[in-house]
Structure formats: C-alpha cells, structure tokens
Symmetry: C2
Subunit: 222 residues, 2 copies
C-alpha cells in the first residue's frame, strides 16, 4: 500500500506533529510525513522533524510581501514534496485562498474545542468563561471560514472544578494527540467521504473508531 | 433533612419528569415533586404525576389573555404548592419575566445539545446538519435568553454513522434521564453556587459526580 504523503505546518512546540510522526513511524497509520514547514525559527516542530529524519523547512513569513505570496511559497514547497494532504498543527498564520484552492478539501486542522462551540482564538479560555462542563477537540477540513469546515473527529473531556486555562488545555491536548492520528488513519485508509457539511466515515467491524469518537458515559445513577 | 420542593412544568410525554419522580421516590435525591403543571390536556406528564401520587394541574394556555397573564397563573400555582425550584421538562411555552422574576435563578431547563452549540428549537436536527461527531445534553439555569443560562450539568454522546434525528434524540434522551436527577441532587444538597456565568459544584470525595460529568474516553490508539 502506498503511503499517504503528509505536509505538516506548525509554528509551536509541535506536540501534535510528534503524535503524527510517532503514529507514522510505528506503522499505526499508512502515511508518512513528507515535509514539515514552520514560519518561525524558534519552532520546536522543526527539531522534532529532523530528529524523525523528516525534511524540516523554515519559511519565515516576514520575507513575503503578502499573505498570498507566502502561501504561494507554501504551495510550492508542498508540491515539491508531493504532499497529498496538508495538516495544520498549531500553525499560527491565517491561510489564504491561494493555499485553499491548491489543496481544496485536502487541508486538515485541529481545534481545542467541540466545534461549532468556541471557534477562533483562545478556545479554551472561551470555554472556561462560558462555564461549560464538557469541552474537547475537533479535527476538521479547512474551508474559508474560521474553524467552520466539515468535522472528521471529535473527542470530549470534562471541565473540572478548579480548572484553569492551563489544566483544561492540557486535558484537551491529550485528546488532540489521539484524534489527529485517528483522523489521518481514516483519511489514509480511504474511509472519509465529504458530503456537504457532513463527513461520512466508513467503519469496519471491530474497529475502535467508534470508541474514540464515543465518550462512554458510565457514571452511576445519582 | 427537609426535602426540596420541586415544581415540574411539562407539555409532552414527560419522560424527564418520570426520571425525576423515580429519583425522588427511590430516595436518590433529597427532593419531592410538589406539583406538576401542564398546558396541554394531552400531556402524558399529568398521568405520570397522578400515578406517582403527585398533584397534577392542567393550566390551558388558551384561556389566558397574554403570556404574562399565563405566567402569573403559573407563579400562583407554584407558590400555592410552596415550590422552591422550578424544573422545565419539555415545557413548550416561552416563559416571560413574570415567571423569571418570581423564581429568579431558581428555574432549570434541560436542552438536547451541548450548549452553547445548537440552542433553540430542533437542537438534534441542527447537530446532525452541522455534522458534529459528539453531541449531548445540558441542564442549565434559565435566564432571559434562549438556552443561554449558567450550565449545571452536561453529558456527551457520540453521533454515529447512519444516525437520524430519532436515533440521536433517543441516545441523548437516555443521558437527559441521568443528568436532570443529577442536577437536582446537586441543587438539593446545596452544592451549587452561581458565580456569574459559571456554576461551581462542590464535589465530595468518592462521589460519582465527576463520572457523570466526564465522558471517559478510553479508545485505543489508532
């Protein structure tokens, strides 16, 4: 089976990138990271890529005259590495139609909330402020809106008494590290079908997808 | 311990009412249903109340000149039965400030979605249309907005491939039947504190609250 070629864009510590690299290296998903691109020299993501033997490319955005020009560079590097699916993993740049059109319906993102609740920046802070008792994370296809694209995978976590932004973000991040590889596995196995706003997932018998999608609620009666 | 006196307003089949009646009868929550009020003669909720030996009052809204006049009648009946906490359980009437002020911060509602996602009518249909992979239910304090009040309890359920409105609503309803008694137990035990938009819940050691609030995600790695 030919491995799906991924391009990962990251600006931060790259922990989601790491979960993807690990899942690929361990053969848990039929994919490989063909290239990691960051806009920041400080991005630990680039170190992680190099350690995994993956091409790591720094593409500073300051050198580009416009967002569109920057995205043209991105597209060029992604194509050069024959990327089939683009994964945004903490990439702190707004992307433009230049990238969206070049990889139409082939860009994924992960967001630390149960979309459509709390799109945009500071999702964890928004959730705490709203006083929800359950939050989570979402892997979705990127469209022209802000965190509005079709949803592939979600996982829920409790918001506990005494949580602050850091503790809740950490609890959500642990689920992100499970959900992104999952979404990529579904994609790489050809089990994802977009139908408008809905994403149909072909499930196989005995396959644990249901479980990861399904918070099993097992509390006792009051 | 004096039992908290509940007034339940219901228009439909009253399955949430039943879960409350059962929890009270079995001593699982230190509360009693003092009165059940419905605006519809057809409401099965009234039969359920009578079967449980609870006062069942039909208050047809057609006889009232205005929503406010109707709510004055509601307030009058609730007061007559010394109700301390009002529970909306499928009550298909918009309530007015007349009721809201008479029982300020003492009216609860249950909604079949993980608020703030999908407020208002047809929440389950909205969730399916949006293509979310996780939905759920929310017990919240009623304020002047539509499903915008402080959140007490939430539970999550998976949206499965092939779900229609009926199957998803049934899965959510099963959680509603756990969440409403839970919220009432927390309230009746004096463990709920409103702090602006947030609801603080005092948790006791070994107490299963965390569990019901917490979808335990136990899926395997991909």
């Amino acid at each position: 089976m030919t491995k799906l070629r991924l391009g990962v864009l990251a600006s931060g510590t790259g922990s989601n990138l790491q979960s993807i690299l690990d899942a690929c290296a361990q053969g848990r998903i039929p994919a490989q990271v063909a290239v990691v691109i960051s806009n920041l020299t400080s991005a630990k993501a680039l170190d992680r890529a190099r350690e995994a033997g993956v091409r790591a490319i720094l593409l500073p955005h300051q050198l580009s005259p416009s967002r569109e020009a920057y995205d043209e560079q991105l597209v060029s590097v992604l194509r050069e590495h024959e990327v089939e699916l683009v994964c945004l993993a903490g990439f702190m740049r707004l992307i433009t139609p230049v990238l969206l059109r070049a990889f139409e319906n082939r860009i994924l993102n992960i967001h630390p909330a149960l979309l459509p609740s709390f799109p945009g920046l500071h999702a964890v802070r928004q959730a705490l402020k709203a006083g929800v008792k359950i939050s989570g994370c979402t892997v979705h296809v990127v469209d022209e809106g802000t965190d509005t694209g079709p949803i592939l995978v979600q996982a829920a976590v409790p918001v506990l008494e005494g949580d602050d932004e850091e503790s809740l973000a950490a609890r959500i991040l642990a689920q992100e590290h499970r959900c992104y590889p999952w979404a990529l596995r579904l994609w790489a196995e050809g089990r994802v079908a977009l139908e408008g706003r809905r994403v149909r997932i072909a499930t196989a018998r005995g396959d644990p997808t249901r479980q990861i999608l399904s918070p099993a609620l097992q509390g006792e009666q009051p």
